[in-house]
């Protein structure tokens, strides 16, 4: 019954999306005032129903109801509860249901609290949101029904891929999806503004917090995903330029550009068309990412041809929405009146450079991700990895950081170089000093060297805009900018330090033997079998001491899961403020030795601390924007009340 109830809720939600779309369309005409009333309630009820469907799916997984195909093929009664729950979205159908649920919730939220734009624009926005949602409802109901039953009921489930049986699965996909799908709001706002020709600074002010929210989730999701891959895969790497990773990076790049151009539109009424364009592109990248991950096209173009239904469905949706939005954009772009002018040496000018660089990086990542698919269509098999992505994106990334350092010091509209000469000299001096210092002392490769120098530059520069201002009275959003930019510096320093100074040691050690890796001495104490709820493992106990200090015990494992049968390495980490020791246990070598793979990774954790700081900066900015808006709104209400009193 639970499954049928969930399916019914999903159908009803889809029906309400139709109602929302029709209501919104009629609201644009003169006679549709009555139906316009249903648009906002429809969005809210639709989200409620969708949430019910999702909760039903969770319930099925908790009960391990094996008469449901999705549960039988992805779960197992012996799995810990948290992984039963997380397993609900660790598969195709469940993750698409999560996607549409998040999207419906986002739509309901704008329907509930957003009253700043003209009602007609809001209706167009909610209509666009329903239109996009409908495609995904159709996809779920017609080709990926998560509630499908099977008969006969199997005695036991197939289990969940052990690589996914980790707390990371509980956190990473929902966070990332909140970001992906949150961008649908920006898309809908852009479409709504195009339809009603209301591309104004007010529109940007309304859109900005939503973009910020989605962007914070994306940042957190990417950071968490990177750390998860780092400790779970056991290769010591934190970013592999894997297509799935790129699928999350591309919307982030577009959303970052959108955030910055929206702030130009909001403060200065410039870059109108460009902001709309980015709103469309950001969510398009989310959908493209979903297509890449969900269509099976990544395994092989040919695999896509073998089971084309789902892939074709998403490809058709992709073409419909992106194509439709771009056609609308092309038709309306020239009717958007031009915004205000500015000179190249100004805050706007710097933000334009930021936007162009981010777009160029986006293009580079997109080409590199799609290239293997293109060549495979001509039967040439290639893979594109770090030798392409690192240097080519750095060509745009590094200059962008220079602009990032200087841009926030500039004034809006027009500035003179003489005014910012002193801070620019300070910034440049810091950069050059670090560049020379690191080069003389360590003599590392060019890219990490430039990375470190720019990290120092940006770190100093991120707080220079606060110079000479009353810190207590500074808007929170300005703090947000400083913290986020500082986070970029911290993450960049971690990346550069990790790639320049990592020490890797591969050895076959006897019990009692000590291996030296960088400043660490690691002694293998014993290797013994251990067992968990659905796995058995060989566990090594090792004593690691830093620089001859006190020993700490770490326990890497080589795990064997029995349903499905698979082995994974569980790495062991030892974290200090200045880096991490990373240990992996391999197989038994001859003469009673054990293979050990050890890394000393200086400052590697700074990468993820940087990511968290960037998200924190976004959060501060969001709090600042919203609180200013709330204060302004209550002030207006008070003034209106006073007016009403005076006229009475």
């Amino acid at each position: 019954m639970i499954a049928e109830f969930g399916l019914a809720a999903l159908w009803l939600a889809a029906a309400l999306a139709v109602l929302q779309l029709v209501g919104a369309a009629l609201a644009q005409t003169a006679g549709g005032k009555v139906l316009a009333q249903v648009v906002r309630p429809a969005a809210v009820v639709q989200a409620l129903l969708c949430t019910i469907a999702f909760v039903m799916l969770l319930w099925l997984f908790v009960r391990t109801d094996l008469s449901v195909l999705l549960v039988a093929s992805n779960s197992h009664s012996a799995k810990p509860l948290i992984f039963k729950l997380a397993g609900a979205w660790g598969n195709h159908e469940g993750s698409m249901l999560l996607w549409i649920t998040v999207m419906a919730l986002a739509g309901a939220l704008i329907a509930l609290i957003e009253y700043r734009l003209p009602e007609k624009t809001m209706h167009a926005t909610l209509g666009a949101q329903a239109f996009v949602g409908l495609g995904f409802y159709a996809f779920l109901l017609f080709s990926s029904n998560p509630f499908e039953r099977i008969s006969p009921v199997p005695p036991e489930g197939m289990g969940l891929n052990p690589l996914l049986q980790d707390i990371g699965l509980a956190l990473h996909p929902p966070t990332l999806y909140a970001g992906y799908v949150g961008l649908s709001v920006a898309f809908s706002f852009a479409v709504g503004a195009l339809l009603t020709r209301q591309v104004t600074p007010e529109f940007a002010k309304v859109m900005r917090p939503w973009v910020l929210g989605a962007w914070i989730f994306l940042t957190l999701g990417i950071t968490a995903g990177s750390y998860w891959a780092y400790y779970e895969l056991g290769w010591g790497g934190w970013w592999f330029w894997d297509p799935v990773e790129n699928a999350s990076l591309m919307p982030w790049l577009a959303a970052t550009a959108l955030l910055h151009s929206a702030s130009v539109l909001a403060s200065r009424d410039a870059l109108r068309t460009w902001t709309i364009m980015l709103g469309v592109v950001a969510f398009s990248m989310s959908m493209l990412g979903t297509f890449l991950v969900r269509s099976g096209i990544l395994t092989s173009v040919h695999a896509f041809a073998v089971d084309p239904e789902r892939g074709s469905f998403i490809l058709a949706l992709l073409a419909l929405y992106i194509g439709g939005a771009l056609v609308l954009f092309a038709m309306r772009a020239n009717t958007i009146s031009e915004g205000k002018r500015f000179s190249l040496l100004s805050r706007e000018g710097a933000l334009v450079v930021n936007n162009v660089a981010l777009s160029a990086i986006l293009g580079i990542v997109l080409l590199g991700t799609l290239y293997p698919l293109l060549t495979e269509a001509f039967d040439v098999r290639v893979s594109v990895g770090p030798p392409y992505f690192n240097p080519v994106s750095a060509i745009f990334f590094l200059p962008m950081l220079v602009v990032l350092a200087v841009g926030p010091l500039l004034r809006w509209r027009h500035d003179r170089f003489a005014r910012v000469r002193l801070p620019v000299i300070i910034i440049a001096a810091v950069g050059i000093a670090v560049l020379l210092g690191v080069w003389l002392i360590a003599g590392i490769a060019l890219l990490p060297l430039l990375g470190m120098a720019l990290a120092a530059t940006v770190a100093v520069a991120s707080f220079l805009p606060l110079r000479g201002r009353a810190l207590r009275r500074l808007p929170i959003a300005v703090w947000g900018m400083a913290v986020a930019h500082f986070g970029v510096a911290v993450a960049l320093f971690g990346m550069a330090a990790d790639s320049a100074f990592t020490i890797e040691k591969l050895s076959a050690a006897r019990v009692g033997e000590t291996t030296v890796v960088g400043p660490w001495q690691v002694r293998l104490d014993r290797v013994e079998p251990v067992a968990g709820p659905n796995w058995t493992a060989l566990e090594a106990a090792m004593t690691a001491s830093y620089d001859g200090g006190e020993g700490q015990v770490i326990r890497p494992q080589s795990r064997s899961f029995w349903s499905p049968q698979q082995q994974t390495s569980e790495s062991a980490l030892l974290t200090r403020w200045n880096g991490q020791l990373y240990a992996v246990l391999g197989q038994a070598a001859e003469n009673g030795r054990w293979q050990l793979h050890l890394w000393w990774k200086p400052f590697v954790t700074w990468i993820w601390f940087g990511g968290l700081l960037i998200a924190l900066g976004g959060l501060l900015s969001l709090i600042g924007r919203v609180s200013v808006d709330v204060r302004r709104r209550s002030a207006t209400t008070r003034i209106e009340a006073r007016h009403a009193e005076a006229t009475r």
């Binding site: 695999a303 031009e338 160029a360 893979s383 594109v384 030798p387 060509i395 591969l506 390495s569």
Partner: protein, 153 residues
């Protein structure tokens, strides 16, 4: 500097700047892709048209029965990858994937050494009974049959 320009001209200047940057990015990307993409080889490709030493490539095939041996350091492996027509000796230092065995399919990332040995930096084997690296799915019929036979043993 452009304060005297009309709004229309300013838009034009911005569009031109953006276009130049994006076209430059595209050309750069295309050029880099041709040079940096790592091509997939099977042993017979390497026999007929070997890649330049030092160029990053991927080698896919079957680990020959009886060819796997571990050097005395306990972590360096030597084995031979074949496809029924040609054989390529491979050296790899590291921890092998759990399902890496003689007679199974493997994709090795690395480069050819001047002496004709393939130096692998990374090995991709079957992760589990369901998942295979994408290259393994496209081997010739014989290889696919052999792989399937091995996988279902």
């Amino acid at each position: 500097m452009n304060t005297g320009l009309k709004a229309k001209h300013q838009r034009l200047v911005l569009v031109v700047i953006a276009l130049v940057a994006i076209v430059a990015a595209g050309i750069l990307a295309a050029w880099a892709l041709r040079n940096q993409a790592s091509y997939f080889y099977v042993p017979s490709d390497i026999a007929s048209d070997p890649p330049e030493p030092g160029q990053a490539v991927r080698l896919g095939g079957m680990v020959e029965q009886g060819s796997l041996r571990t050097a005395s350091d306990g972590v360096t492996l030597h084995f031979v990858v074949g496809d029924g027509e040609a054989r390529v000796p491979v050296v790899f230092a590291g921890i092998v994937p759990d399902l890496f065995t003689e007679g199974s399919g493997v994709v090795a990332e690395g480069e050819m050494m001047p002496d004709g040995t393939f130096k692998a930096n990374n090995l991709l084997a079957k992760h589990d009974e369901n998942y295979m690296p994408r290259e393994l799915e496209q081997m010739s019929e014989d290889q696919a049959r052999a792989t399937v036979a091995e996988a279902t043993e």
